[in-house]
């Protein structure tokens, strides 16, 4: 479960960024970029795309900075944008791959990935990857994930369960 309220420090950064402070924005960036980028990468499995997605999420956040409620934490706001965009990107690539290579591409991609965890994640659909990443990397509860992705809680739970089962199976097969 992530913090419901922002720290005093984060509130100050957001206030400063709203007033145009580059230093405060930099502090926000340094606090949130690594996880937003990592989350996007674990969903799309493409570093350049993850960079674009996380960067676009930050830019979108900046565009809406004036409307941001400082009483709420910045992270979930950013993660919602980044993860939803990552799912869209991964879906569209999957669709292209199916058209171009009759479904072989996703499997090829998975085999190319050297890291065992990433290779195992690649066997999941983008939607399953996203809930795993939100739950286990970013620490959101199933209820929070349901809100972030606009899904029923039961769907989140079933995706988590199925995702973890697939991961376990993949990792044990690799071993």
């Amino acid at each position: 479960m992530v913090a419901l309220f922002p720290s005093r420090e984060e509130r100050a950064w957001v206030r400063g960024a709203q007033a145009g402070s580059a230093a405060d924005l930099e502090a926000l960036f340094r606090a949130h970029w690594p996880r937003a980028f990592r989350a996007a990468y674990l969903v799309v499995h493409d570093a350049a795309a993850a960079e674009d997605i996380a960067q676009e999420a930050f830019l979108a956040a900046i565009r809406r900075l004036d409307r941001f409620d400082r009483r709420r934490p910045f992270g979930p706001w950013l993660h919602r944008i980044a993860v939803n965009r990552a799912i869209d990107w991964a879906r569209s690539r999957q669709l292209r791959a199916e058209v171009e290579l009759a479904g072989e591409r996703a499997w090829e991609d998975a085999r190319d990935l050297s890291d065992e965890t990433v290779a195992a994640l690649a066997r999941l659909t983008p939607e399953h990857r996203a809930v795993i990443v939100l739950r286990h990397l970013l620490g959101y509860s199933p209820a929070e994930i349901a809100e972030l992705l606009g899904l029923p809680r039961g769907t989140v739970n079933s995706r988590l369960r199925r995702g973890l089962d697939t991961l376990k199976e993949a990792v044990s097969r690799e071993a």
Partner: protein
Amino acid sequence: MRRELERVEIPGEAEAAERARRVVAAALAERAPRAAGPARRASRAAVLAAAAAGALAVAASPAGPALLRSVRHAVGLERAEPALVRLPAAGRLLVDSTAGAWIVAADGSKRLLGRYAESSWSPHGLFELAARGQELAALDPKGNVRWSLEREGRVRGPRWSPDGYRVAYLAGRELRVVAGDGAGDRLVEAPVAAVAPAWRPGPGHVLAYAAPDGAVRVVDADSGARLAAWRGRNRPLRLAWSPDGTRLLGVGRSTIDLLTPSLARVSSVSLGLADPGRVTVAAAVWAPRGRRYAFVVHDAARDRSTVFVQGERRARFQGTGLVDGLAWSPDGRWLLVAWRTADQWVFVRVGGAPRLRAVASISAQFRSSSYPRVGGWCC
């Protein structure tokens, strides 16, 4: 599980963070409250991000609103000149119509070079390259063929190297290079994407091209050595080096990436991520000097094209329908906006006070059954 996800190595993680930090900081600087006075430089990212958000409305310059209003709701400028009687700046234009390739002199006179297409200038405007089916030809300004060669595939995108000693072109799916006198034609790479190659200004013969998988590659055209490669999210449709050779512009359907010669990304902006395909980049062209470029974005939902000059907050031109070409005058003071939907050319003064000059019936003036393509405005 968390530890596993946190220890996954991501290629180029630190570099990505640094690039994003710079882009995000520039975007904040752009939205920060402004003091009265001269407009500050806007970042590419901020200008494009505004476009992505659909904020294509023009905050026109003091002299601009009336001009822009006059074009916003009509296709074509009302007071367009019926014929091209002179160019607003020195130099000559190269134009491809269905009748062939044309040279337009500064006084508006036109010369048909022959039934060629895909034309482009040599570095000092002494010759032109043009294609006709499977033939590549080097022509002088009177249309005399200096040399020509034929290859198996359709010839496209011929480009003369900045020092004049090499010509790169596509023949079918092959990237080929020939010496500037037409000798020593050879294959550099195959297959490649149908994107005109781009020579890097500076020493040597360094060439950027697009691979079929959407990667951008940089090679030494003489040795064939691959110098750098990069793959972005979208396939590049146009490649262009800055005049000083320090930046490569990779333009995708709705992305503009700015890369270093080693293909490290300096900035990257995707238009309309939330609504893919709505906002597209129709053209992007470097100014003849310095490191700024002009670009056109088309908003399909509003069927509106807007021309920006990088580093400026205000749009330079906006019109209904499609703008599909841009060309800078050699002195960098005027921008030719090829407004296909209006069948007009609009000359926009970008140096000095804003000014527009339009010329109507472009297709008819070049005896063309379709809207002509501008191949360049040269010295």
